[in-house]
Subunit: 296 residues, 2 copies
């Protein structure tokens, strides 16, 4: 079973879920949604996009709430929307390869990987963690916006940053076949899996057994769909991510997928998720608990 | 009389007004307000803050409207709010002196002047004009957010940029006494006034005779106050600036002075300003007309 869950005293059959709010700081509507969720008193985990203009609002909320929140850095190398954009905090040098022709982060992860200078990208990731800490956020973990760290030149940077700051990095447990299916050579995949096993068993870095999200663009019956996900959940540690936004002009003007975000807000800022958790018997975990194991 | 108004065929007694929407691109609510104003068909002049995250939305609107708008660059070296912030587009080097401890532009103009490397500031101003042009905006003028170019090391940069791009810079006609009252030496003030006179008379650069704005924080009776300003207006060229925002969660969360901005929206997106112009007989001018004189 998951070595970190074992250390935390869970049983092999337990289904343990980190409910994770993505894209905090991205805009005001997503900050407000998260604040509402936290005020409900049931969930408190999410990750913030440091380069986004509303980062200061989220940081102020985190300071107010002191250690009560569970806030990670949603490491960001992309700026995906049309009307509203942001860029790196560490450089404006075109030689970094982090900037598109308009001077923002690239819109697509593929473009980041095609153009980035890996050292500049690594420096930017580190700068985002440093700025979150400097803003008074008790950073509990890191994860990756649009999967931009999933690249041979950045995956080890991501893991090294987690080790250096002694915070969990969201890393799904991938099998050899899954890794080779992603284009990783068999030898590299074997090395990677072995390394993660060693890190996990030694209590150095946790691994997430299952990654879940509802990517369908239709917002209908969102609560029922999350119910189906939770009912079907295998034992182990699940990172379940969602994107909650308060309805309003701002999110409509930014994100074409806003109806899905507003539907997530209904599920996670309301009583729906608490009832689902009670019904399905899954156990809720913050990243903070995994960090404590790493720091023990 | 004003040399540019004379060249444009106005009479000495004419009261000519540029109604100027400030802070475009700053947030979605201010973009929406300006789009509503333009759709009314009466006013079309404003200036955009290039470093702000909603610049792309305003640029897309400007491209859609092709040459029908009158859009300047609201040269920006400050980021004044608490929850929502932006920084330079040309550098992230702390040595530039353009960044505060949180990594954004300074909040106050005084702090910019105290810390800036003048060359870095000049490069940033140029980068903002270049990016607006690259985004397809037919830039008609430049002006200054929070007066940050009003510094001995930047005033000449501001004038030089206007000459180089052959676009008007919003420069109020200041008397020797006004300039010395601002702490400029008598000799510098004399040089400045003489230089502006030469530039104006030669058709190189226009000067604005009067600068008007309603800075009172109370939004009450805003239309009546603008009526009083227009009725009392002396002959010559007036730059009348306002800050219009559509009401909503976003502007409320950004700007403590949002009631004033929403009141300006009511005045300038409605029929109010058109009636005032008819009643007072002032003449409305776009910056585009001044630019044509410069480029003739």
């Amino acid at each position: 079973m998951n070595a970190f869950l074992e250390r935390l005293g869970f049983a092999p059959e337990d289904r343990v879920v980190i409910f994770h709010a993505d894209d905090l700081g991205m805009c005001h509507a997503m900050n407000e949604a998260f604040m509402d969720i936290v005020r409900q008193g049931f969930l408190r985990t999410g990750a913030v996009m440091v380069p986004c203009p509303w980062f200061p609002e989220l940081a102020a909320f985190a300071r107010e709430q002191a250690g009560a929140l569970d806030i990670g850095v949603h490491l960001t190398l992309t700026s995906e929307w049309q009307t509203y954009r942001w860029g790196p905090i560490s450089t404006r040098d075109p030689g970094s390869g982090l900037l598109d022709a308009d001077g923002y982060f690239w819109r697509e992860t593929e473009a980041v990987h095609a153009h980035m200078n890996a050292e500049a990208a690594a420096a930017e990731l580190r700068a985002q963690i440093e700025r979150a800490l400097a803003a008074g956020i008790d950073v509990t973990h890191i994860d990756t916006h649009m999967g931009s760290v999933l690249h041979p030149d950045l995956a080890l940077v991501y893991i090294s940053l987690a080790q250096e700051y002694r915070i969990p990095a969201m890393i799904p447990r991938l099998s050899l076949d899954e890794l080779t299916g992603m284009g990783v050579s068999r030898e590299m995949a074997q090395t990677f899996v072995t390394m993660l096993n060693v890190l996990e068993e030694s209590g150095t870095l946790p691994v997430v057994d299952h990654l879940r999200s509802l990517e369908e663009p239709t917002p209908d019956a969102r609560l029922e769909k999350y119910a189906a996900v939770l009912r079907a959940l295998p034992p182990g540690l699940t990172h379940l991510l969602f994107h909650a936004a308060r309805p309003g002009e701002e999110i409509r003007a930014i994100a074409p997928d806003w109806p899905m975000r507003v539907a997530d807000y209904s599920v996670f800022a309301g009583e729906g998720v608490r009832r689902l958790v009670e019904e399905t018997g899954v156990k809720v975990l913050p990243y903070r608990a995994l960090r404590e194991v790493m720091r023990a």
